[in-house]
Point group: C2
Chain length 253, copies 2
């Protein structure tokens, strides 16, 4: 068997999320269907670095699958892109060892959250960013709050109450806010993220930006370890999974 790693992008708009669920359109369903077709009907299953919710996008999701086939890597890419719907694209295909696992080998992830400053939210942006309307946030205050979230913390206040994992300690290595043209972009990198963590952090930072919270409030929210203290989870269409890190691949020696 050969293990194949693929880096993929998708427009999450028309998917009910990443993971296969009977009767609804998901990213995994489309990928497994394409793989199964390539394998002449043999039932194929792919594994991703993690799920994404309905409406969430990806520029750099990573998956792996096992195959008895020995195709050149470029052929995998072409064959999959021909069979997949155009809202999923395979950007890169690599051959990996059997001990590589898209989910368990991941050492870090980067997400982006994208807001629009435009007075009228462009119809071309409606699924790809979140309008701030007339609320022009104070980005400096948001950066101050972001500083408090960097490092290793118990992020219980910053994840969905539906989070299954008991260990809520995560390390945020990078959390930046940048203004690019008519957009405000939050970039967050860490060793792992709890369910809804990025969108909850984005919500708290915007609350700080528009003055509903002070930058230092973030400290007490962290301390309380109670989801109710953090405010709302922002909508999915602003969120992008940008990159998944793997030790041996990112730091080849």
């Amino acid at each position: 068997m050969n293990r194949i790693k693929a880096t993929i992008s998708y427009d999450g708009t028309n998917f009910a999320g990443y993971q296969i669920q009977p009767g609804i359109r998901t990213v995994q369903q489309e990928i497994d269907k394409a793989l199964t077709k390539i394998h002449k009907g043999e039932n194929m299953i792919s594994y991703a670095s993690g799920r994404t919710d309905a409406g969430v996008h990806a520029n750099g999701q990573v998956i792996h699958f096992d195959t008895p086939f020995n195709l050149p890597l470029d052929r995998w890419k072409k064959a999959l892109n021909v069979l997949l719907p155009t809202d999923i694209r395979i950007n890169k295909v690599e051959s990996v060892d059997q001990d590589f696992h898209a989910r368990y080998s991941a050492t870090g992830k980067t997400y982006r959250y994208k807001w629009s400053y435009s007075e009228v939210h462009s119809p071309f942006e409606r699924n790809f960013s979140v309008p701030l309307g007339t609320r022009k946030p104070n980005v400096e205050k948001m950066r101050e709050a972001a500083m408090h979230l960097m490092g290793t913390h118990d992020f219980s206040s910053f994840c969905s109450t539906k989070t299954a994992t008991s260990n809520k300690v995560r390390t945020v290595k990078l959390l930046t806010l940048e203004e690019q043209d008519e957009f405000l972009v939050m970039t967050i990198n860490g060793d792992g993220f709890l369910y809804n963590m990025v969108r909850t952090i984005a919500g708290v930072l915007i609350d700080v930006g528009v003055g509903r919270k002070a930058p230092s409030d973030v400290l007490s929210i962290l301390e309380k370890k109670d989801r109710k203290t953090a405010g709302k989870t922002l909508s999915a269409q602003g969120l992008y999974l940008e990159n998944v890190e793997y030790k041996s691949y990112d730091n080849p020696s």
Copy 2:
């Protein structure tokens, strides 16, 4: 009665074109529905500078409508944007004289056609540009061909055989090709365009770019006045109505 001019943008992806047709979703249908709602059920009709086909986008389509209401212009914009679906946005609202007509007062239009050079066509671009795949066109040759199309010509070879208008003479004032990041963009400005004219011109220019036609072939295509000589009409998702010109508004004296 007050006549209102509105400049609008729309993502054409989920519309069966601009003009109202029973039983299918069109841009005009949504606009007239929103206007009718504002006018408490009074049946409202809007007039556009022209139709666009299914899948064609607009950044600067212009419409007008008559209303007995005397709302501040900003209220019109807000009310319509609240009622309209997010794939149509009102960017600007102006009060105009009764002799202004979105279609008949128009003195010129600008369209854009957008191709993508990306080896893998981004899922976020799938409805907004046309992939060139491995065909890297010679843009210099395309510009040479474009020069032949500028000026006043009979464009019979460059419009759909379904074109109703008998006079096929039009003036192209500007026809440029620019490379922007991973995109190739054709911009065309003229006094008016025949049905499918922009997409047919785009198709001929790409044919020249990839060597299927020589730049000078454009001259014989024009001469023959036969649609069959020009090649195929490119797909709708690359096409944008950018701007509509009106004499008195663009050159206020």
